[in-house]
Symmetry: D2
């Protein structure tokens, strides 16, 4: 199979670097073009970026020349790691010019014709772009993704009335340079701009029902409180749920551990074998111990117990820059390719 040529917009930032890392040896995609802001254009990638990934930058990629973020690329499949201050217009321009763009930015997440996609959760929302010759698909916020994966099988099985979530989020979620060390060493910051709003709105679209070519939002009361903690990677969340039909603990764990979805059935290259793991040990999951489960693509859950106010409470962990950003976006691209949404650009 000939690999499909892909490009990255915003390739020099930390999410951009994670894309480079994950695409450096991908079975379906060939990383061909690296685009960034004017400041970097014309430089070699290795000189335009301060590489901070734990793996080494491949020589052939480091030597590529950085291109401007303009829709004259050879690659018609484009991953966007652009900052939200510029992503909105650029992404629209690419879509209007026949590109399929999968974005980590918040700008188009609530556009009515744009899927807010987690491949295991709402693959059917891709129908919003059916037969389009160019489109935007968005990846939810990193703290939403772990939560949405944890609640999807429960929502389907038992119905959910309300969700209360408190996050303890990793610094990598703030990008690079991002969170100043003076702010977070020996500290917690109980505020992340815009984050609580995203967490209470995005799950409603993600869990929404697709019909008549539009999405009807789910009806769940959600309250989110978001904190930044001194952790490199891995968002940990304390979650409480009130169900429509209260299940037993055993029911819940069974639903979680048996959950598989389309990406697993299709055997997509980046799909975890199982999207959800439940840990019986009291002290798990923990960011440093569990974030890399299934190459960072699985969600770890633990401590399911009765709640004095809601029905149950539990702890969810997911890798914010893999499952919550670059890895999730890559899985979306794989799903789109496997389901034929990219057929129009494959022969070009």
């Amino acid at each position: 199979m000939k690999k499909l040529s892909v490009a990255i917009l915003g390739a020099t930032g930390s999410v951009g670097q994670k894309f480079v890392e994950l695409l450096s040896d991908h079975p379906w995609f060939e990383l061909t073009e690296l685009c960034a802001s004017e400041r970097s254009v014309g430089k070699k990638y290795k000189e335009a970026t301060k590489w901070v990934m734990p793996s080494s930058l491949k020589t052939e990629i480091g030597n590529k020349e950085v291109l401007p973020c303009e829709p004259n690329l050879k690659s018609k499949l484009v991953f966007s790691a652009l900052d939200s201050s510029v992503a909105g217009e650029i992404e629209t321009e690419f879509a209007n010019n026949g590109y399929f763009i999968i974005s980590n930015s918040k700008n188009h997440r609530f556009d009515s014709d744009v899927p807010l996609l987690i491949p295991e959760v709402n693959h059917e929302h891709l129908e919003l772009i059916k037969n389009k010759s160019g489109a935007i698909v968005t990846n939810p916020n990193c703290s939403t993704i772990g939560l949405a994966l944890a609640i999807k099988p429960l929502y389907d099985a038992f119905g959910i009335e309300s969700i209360n979530v408190v996050t303890m989020q990793a610094i990598s979620g703030g990008g690079y340079p991002g969170v100043p060390s003076m702010d977070i060493l020996d500290n917690v910051v109980p505020y992340i701009s815009g984050e609580e709003e995203k967490m209470k709105t995005e799950p409603l679209k993600i869990l929404g029902k697709f019909s008549n070519n539009s999405i009807e939002n789910a009806k769940i009361k959600i309250s989110a409180q978001c904190n930044r903690v001194s952790v490199i990677d891995g968002h940990l969340e304390n979650v409480q749920i009130k169900f429509k039909n209260k299940p037993s603990k055993e029911d819940i764990i069974k639903v979680w551990t048996e959950f598989i979805s389309v990406p697993q059935t299709l055997g997509l290259p980046s799909a975890p074998k199982k999207p959800i793991y439940y840990f019986e040990e009291d002290h798990l999951p923990q960011p440093r111990l569990n974030r890399n489960l299934e190459n960072g693509m699985a969600v770890s859950i633990g401590r399911l117990r009765d709640c004095e106010i809601f029905d149950y409470k539990f702890v969810v962990l997911s890798h914010n820059t893999v499952r919550g950003a670059a890895g999730g976006t890559l899985l979306a691209a794989e799903l789109m390719k496997a389901q034929g949404y990219l057929n129009g650009i494959i022969d070009e």
Copy 2:
């Protein structure tokens, strides 16, 4: 005024050291005796302990000989920083032998004749030991204290139906050596043994009504989720409240910022001028920036905002080893002395 001689049980541990630090220059109390387990008895204090406080150990205290934890001390006022594995019996023995013992240990907190005391919150509970010639008074758990101070004025003014709290607790709460660095660097541990149980039961006694020489517990639904984070000192809590009579935000902030209680009226040496401070800035309070407010004796609150599920949510911070342990216990002793509870031992 002649200073009252005091002793510390469990003087070599980290809470013991904090007592030594706070008592090293106290206007009312003279630190006379340092007691610890058999392993330390007979050694000079400075050799029996590995001093980890940020201030220097005073030479005269460092040279004191460590005594056994037996009720033959000169000091009749005794601070206990004993481990709960031994505190129960030893404290009872001291109380039965005419000592007033103020303890940080959990063992006697729910004894019906033992006050679970936060001086600003339930000073009237001290009447449980009125006219006694020896007694135990206990200090609540470090994570309970910040919460109880924050909710006391709200409880009195508006009534409370339910409280939902998620904590992010400092490592000093685990003592020394306590939390292994391998467990907490680049990590969060979403579990602290016994902590959630304490947080949902202790506030009910603390906010209970004293009448007929006993305490009638408050009736509030409380759910607590406790996490350990990579912070030296300062427990941060995300709190949500459903009131009996829902006040406005302005009402709540007014009640908090105007709150003073008996320790303030009496001008006790360790009392903060104000027990509660409210911060308007979105990003406050933070452990490293606010924990030392009023020498660590004040509680910092911020981010009061509407909640989608409860009435309001906000953030509380308190210093766990000062307000939450040694400092709070010292304030209890000052209150007891100022109100005459120690008169029986003052002439001795």
Copy 3:
């Protein structure tokens, strides 16, 4: 005594904030004017700065209007916390217009008529500005100061041929926002731009001999290796020395612990009672335990032992933002005032 009016240039940065903190209750100086870059001019100080000091910002200072860094201030004594990209010209302009400016910036440190001052080490260098009606005095680099204080008494007593130093420096040395958390959490960065060069040159001027109104540099071979570590405050240094006349360990410790200088004799308000403390314990000094000794103005030394290559090796700790920046600068101002260098501006 009427307090002398003082101003701060670069008041909104982290060193500027430390100046504000230290000057908020000074017996000799009255903080009158706060100056910063154009972006902040005209705003209230509390709105122009993101206050990150552990103490609260005083209301009356927070409400002051930020002024431009121009030499039309009422205060003739000015503390400069300007960034080196702009400090050079601005400081010269102030000096030329009759101001006494004490600077933390590197720009003028090697000007032949500018003292590079550590009050306990080279107070006599102030004669460079004798009878001047405006002048620049500079504070050395934060990592140099601890080293220079530790070696000054040894240099005077025994002569020094060579010094080998490896630093482990706190993140606060990088200012705010400064070091990104992604760079330093679970990490060490073995490089600080320009730092090694400063450490090998500055001590030579500081230890230089003043004669004929100029300074003759000391002749010592110095090698420095500088690392950034995950510490908030406090630079730790591993030092090795080859002496001209090798003393015994006892000689060295005696010279250190007996060392006092002019600031101590004059009883300057910010002077530590003793500039140097020696710790016998193997595991000391440590940043978190010892950096605040004497309000951060004393240097802590420990682990003096034989060296297989040099004569001796030992460990030095000093507080980089207090002794190494704002506190040291303030002490310099106190020395200048006590010795009459500021007489020309006191009556104004």
Copy 4:
């Protein structure tokens, strides 16, 4: 090829766990027996240990019963992660009973008939155990290994007179629970018991010449200063060298980057393709970015520059629990097998 059965002594500690992790899928060795102290004997491994590795414990290994550390094992090749308080006698007993034991403990490192082995550096020292039917082979201290690998090719090419090294060592070097978090968060500890002594003596044996069935120590002056820093994995070292024949920088980098040795030639499964990597970037190597190079088995070097006192200075990084402990020991076992030293036990 039938896999060779192996056992681990001290399997429940942190080095023991790292052995379990590395052996869980080894092409030559089959992890058959897990041994530990009396407290663990008889329990399932997963219940006897608190697993803290970032990968999951394999079910079949977790279910193995822990055996006592007694020489009645089926496996004749044994990895020892025993604490030095007990390792001495137990290891001798095993060797005397026909076992080949490869140890991380310090006890036998300087026995005249025991190789202190780094496979790339002194493979010829294995001849000390030639024709033996049971023997001890030891792995050097974790901080020695990175240094020895970095200097071996320089020593051979140019001769070395003296080495000055300052280490910044990761907390995992202290085992589990090991370093208390209260000691290392926001801190550096400038002392590690016994470490400096090991670093100045072990390289002399490692670089020693094998002849007449004994090892003649190298003659190099070494001074070591050891610090513990807030890093999970990866020892960083600031190294200075005075050569016998001073090479150019280019010579040094060429010698490093071209260095390969017997493990590379033999293609041992755990051998890195290249043992040494040189980084040109000023800010590298860093523990978090480079420690996992070649699965943690390669050494990263950077910042080679002229020294004012020695000839050159540079920075070395190596992974302390992989290359410096379990991984290095495993490589030693592979070398022994490939060179026939284990032939006597292979048919059993």
